[in-house]
Assembly symmetry: C2
Homo-oligomer: 152 residues x 2
């Protein structure tokens, strides 16, 4: 689907705040309410907008200990990769996991309460997964930017 500049603006606006009403959007985009409605429906249908979610403050829910964990597997066979990946999917603490190039195979983003909870997570959950060669954890000590927006 080809996106015109109104679509891209709409996408950016909805990424910033999806609770804007169609009327508010219509004013920002110089369109009628129905036109906004139709465009959003189309973006949803085409799976350009995949879903809507509430964002929360990790501190307020006792999950302010954020860790980036770099994981290397002992070998890169298809079996090893898929076993690792299916295990990771089941771990609530892991909000993101990407297969990456470079020194490590995976980068994981992990939210826990504190170091003690992270230790338990590592010992009981992560490193109990087979085929993990090594891990390297980077602890978040400050948030400069934490957006879910992809500017288009």
């Amino acid at each position: 689907m080809k996106l015109d500049h109104i679509d891209t603006k709409l996408i950016n606006l909805l990424q910033e705040d999806s609770k804007r009403t169609n009327k508010q959007l219509s004013l920002l985009l110089n369109l009628s309410v129905t036109a906004v409605y139709e465009r959003i429906k189309k973006l949803e249908k085409e799976q350009i907008i995949t879903n809507y979610s509430a964002k929360i403050d990790p501190q307020k829910v006792d999950k302010s200990f954020l860790v980036f964990c770099h994981v290397k597997l002992i070998q890169h066979s298809r079996e090893y990769l898929s076993v690792f990946e299916s295990k990771i999917l089941k771990l609530d603490e892991v909000s993101e996991c990407f297969h990456v190039s470079g020194d490590y195979d995976y980068i994981l983003k992990i939210y826990v309460k504190d170091m003690e909870e992270y230790r338990e997570f590592m010992v009981n959950k992560l490193t109990s997964i087979k085929y993990i060669g090594s891990t390297q954890s980077s602890f978040m000590i400050g948030t400069i930017k934490n957006s879910t927006k992809i500017v288009v």
Copy 2:
């Protein structure tokens, strides 16, 4: 604010899909519509829920080239840190930037179109920031999990 188990369930539900209506939520939580409404308003007021956003498919908007860039500064003075951080905030390509412990000072999550666009970003934007000592880029070659949900 103390969260009971209904609040945590509500938070998880809204992180998964914030377009659920209060009626749907009331059925899932065994509450009245008004009670759901009041609880959500409270979570918003207390800034536990900070905002609502649409999530999009990076591929469909030509931003499927995701890079984790690890940045080391030449020195850790307050001035260097704050100059770097204020510059980063202005870069649309950088969706996330965290100050971290370990071998590198910062981890950046960067969305661009392709390698060529990344090269331009590095040359013209990132490495033009003063005080950057070294960078190491990891290119995403697969998404195992990409959630914004923090399970509470």
